[in-house]
Amino acid sequence: MLLSPPHKPLTNGSEGTSVTKRGPAPADGRPWPWLVPAVAILAVFYAVPVLDVFRLAFSDATLIRPPTSWTAAPIRALLGNPALPEVLVTTFVFTAVNVVALQAFGLAIALTLVRGEARGLRGMTTFRTLVLAAWVVPGIANGLIWQMLFDEAPYGTLNSLLGFVGIGPVAWLSDPGMALVSAVIANLWQGTAFSMIVFYAARKAIDPVIYEVAALDGASPWRTFRSITLPLLRTAIAVNTVLVAVQTLNTFDSILALTGGGPGRATEVLALFTFNTVFYNLDLAGGSVLALIMFAVAMALATVIHGWLGRTA
C-alpha cells in the first residue's frame, strides 16, 4: 500500500493485503496479550526516555550531575548559542542536497536495472549487489574509507589521480565548502542503495500492460517516463523523501569519522552537534533541547507520512 502506485491492486507474489481475503478471526483473537512485549519495549526504551528528555531540557543537569533546578535557561542559552544557526544551516543543506541526490541516483539506477532486466542484459544483479555492498559498510568505516580517499597529501588517492590529468590538488576536507561536498559524496556512496530498493520495488509493482500500451502507441522513452513512470511512482517518491530525510538527519557516525565536524563547524550537523554537546561538553540540559529538536523534526515528518498513508490506504 505504502509504496505501490495507488491505481492498481497488488499482484506482487504472495497474498493481497488484508481484511477482505481472510475469513472471520477466530474467537481467541484478543490482540493485547500479543502486543505486550512490543508495547513494553516501546514504553521503556522510547516513550519514557523521550519524556525524560522533555524534563531534562528544562533542568540544569549535566552528564555528571543530576538536575537541581527547573528553568527555561537551557533553552534560552541554546537559542543564544552562536553555533546553533550555523549548525542548522549546515544540517539543512546537508539534508536537502542528500535527499535530492540520493533519490535521483536511486531512481536512475532502479529504472536502469529494470530496463536491463527486461532486455535480459547480463550483470544487473552484480551491479545491484555492488550498490548494496556499500550500503552495509558501517558508518564509521565509511567515514574512514573516504578520509583515506580524500587524503590531501600529494600521494592521496583522489588528488594523485587528479594530478595525472593536471588538476591541482583539491582541499577535499580542509576547505569548509569542499568538506561539506565531500561529506555528501561519502553519504551518496553509502545511502543510494536504500532509495534504489524502494524505487525498484515500486517500479516492479507497476502493471506491465501500461507500458505495452504506451509502446504500441509509439510513446518515446522520455514520454513514457514523464507520463507513466513518474506519476505512478509519486507515492513512493513522497514517502521515500521523508524516510531519506530522517535517515540523513540522523546520520552522524560517518561524518564524525570523516571530518569530526570540521573544519571549524563546516560539517557539524545537528546530530553531531547534539552528540558533542552531551558527551564532550557534558551539557545534558542543552543536549536534551537539541535532542528535542531532532525528535520534533522526525515526528513532524512521520506525521506527514501518516497523512499520505491515510489517503492512499
Binding site: 483473537g29 536491463g116 542484459l121
Partner: protein, 276 residues
C-alpha cells in the same frame, strides 16, 4: 536498432556508476596490500609491485583485534535475535488479528523507527549509570533489541501475511491454541522472513557505533566499529596501510553475509516496501 543503442547507454551509465561504487572497495584493498613505501606512490600504483599480506597478518595476529571482532559478532547476533524475538508476537497480532486502530499502530511503529538512537541515549545513559548497567554487554544487547524491533515487526508482519491463513484455521479447528499455531505452524513456515529480519538487524547492529561507544568504556568490551574509530585516532600517514586493512576486516563480514543472502533479504525488503 534503437533498443540496441539503449542497451549500450544502459551499460555505459552503469559502468560509470560501477566505478563510483567499486572504487572505495578496490582502493582499500590496494592500500591494505602495500608496504609503507608504496603508500606514498598514491594512485600511480593501484596494483602494488610487492603486494603483501603482512598488514592483515599484523592486524589479525593482535589478540585485541580478534576480541573486537568477537565482541562485534556477539553483540550483533544477540541483539538481532532479541529484536526478532520481541517482534514475533506483535507481528503475528498485526498479521492475523483484527483490532481497532491497527493501521495507526503500525504507522506509530514506523514513526518510532525514525527516532534517532541519540535522542533516547541521552536519558538512558543516565539511568543505566544510576542502575550500574553501564559497561555491560547485556545492556548493549537490550538496546539493540529495542532499536531493531520496529523494523522487525514490519518485516515479520509481511512474512506472516504471505502464509495462507487457511493452514492456521485448519489447525485451530483441530483444537490447537493460537500459541501452538504460531510455534508449530506459522514460525516454521515463516523461516525465510525470520532469517531476513534477523540478518538485517544483525548487519545494522554490526554498523552501530553510538550505542557501544557510549555504553562501553573498557577497551576489552568494544566491538569492532568502536575499535577502528579509536585505532584511526592513533594512526599516522606511515600506518595508512594498517588502517585500510583494519577497515576491510571490519567491513568484509557484513558485506559477505549480506551479499551471500541478498536474494532473500532484498525480496523481504521489496515485499515490505510494497505492502507496508
Amino acid at each position: 536498432m534503437k533498443a540496441r543503442l539503449g542497451d549500450v547507454a544502459t551499460y555505459g551509465g552503469l559502468a560509470l556508476l560501477a566505478v563510483f561504487f567499486a572504487a572505495p572497495f578496490l582502493w582499500m584493498l590496494s592500500l591494505s596490500l602495500r608496504t609503507p613505501a608504496e603508500i606514498y606512490l598514491g594512485a600511480a600504483r593501484l596494483i602494488p609491485d610487492a603486494p603483501t599480506l603482512g598488514n592483515f597478518r599484523h592486524i589479525l595476529s593482535d589478540p585485541a583485534f580478534l576480541l573486537y571482532l568477537w565482541n562485534g559478532l556477539k553483540l550483533s547476533a544477540a541483539g538481532g535475535a532479541l529484536a526478532v524475538a520481541l517482534a514475533i508476537p506483535a507481528a503475528y497480532a498485526f498479521s492475523r488479528l483484527q483490532f481497532r486502530r491497527k493501521q495507526a499502530a503500525l504507522v506509530a511503529i514506523l514513526a518510532v523507527q525514525m527516532i534517532s538512537p541519540l535522542v533516547i541515549l541521552v536519558p538512558l545513559y543516565r539511568w543505566m549509570g544510576a542502575m550500574d548497567l553501564l559497561n555491560l554487554h547485556a545492556s548493549v544487547i537490550a538496546l539493540y533489541g529495542a532499536l531493531g524491533m520496529p523494523l522487525a515487526v514490519w518485516l515479520l508482519k509481511v512474512a506472516f501475511d504471505a502464509i495462507p491463513v487457511e493452514i492456521e484455521e485448519a489447525a485451530i479447528v483441530d483444537g490447537a491454541s493460537r500459541l501452538q499455531v504460531l510455534t508449530r505452524i506459522t514460525l516454521p513456515l515463516a523461516r525465510p522472513g525470520l532469517a531476513s529480519a534477523f540478518v538485517l538487524a544483525m548487519v545494522t547492529n554490526w554498523s552501530q557505533f553510538l550505542v557501544p561507544f557510549i555504553l562501553l568504556e573498557r577497551d576489552g568490551d568494544w566491538p569492532i566499529s568502536v575499535a577502528i574509530f579509536n585505532f584511526a585516532g592513533s594512526v599516522s600517514a606511515s600506518t595508512t596501510q594498517l588502517l585500510a586493512a583494519a577497515c576491510l576486516v571490519a567491513v568484509v563480514p557484513a558485506v559477505a553475509v549480506f551479499v551471500g543472502l541478498q536474494r532473500m533479504i532484498v525480496s523481504a525488503l521489496v515485499s515490505g516496501a510494497v505492502k507496508g
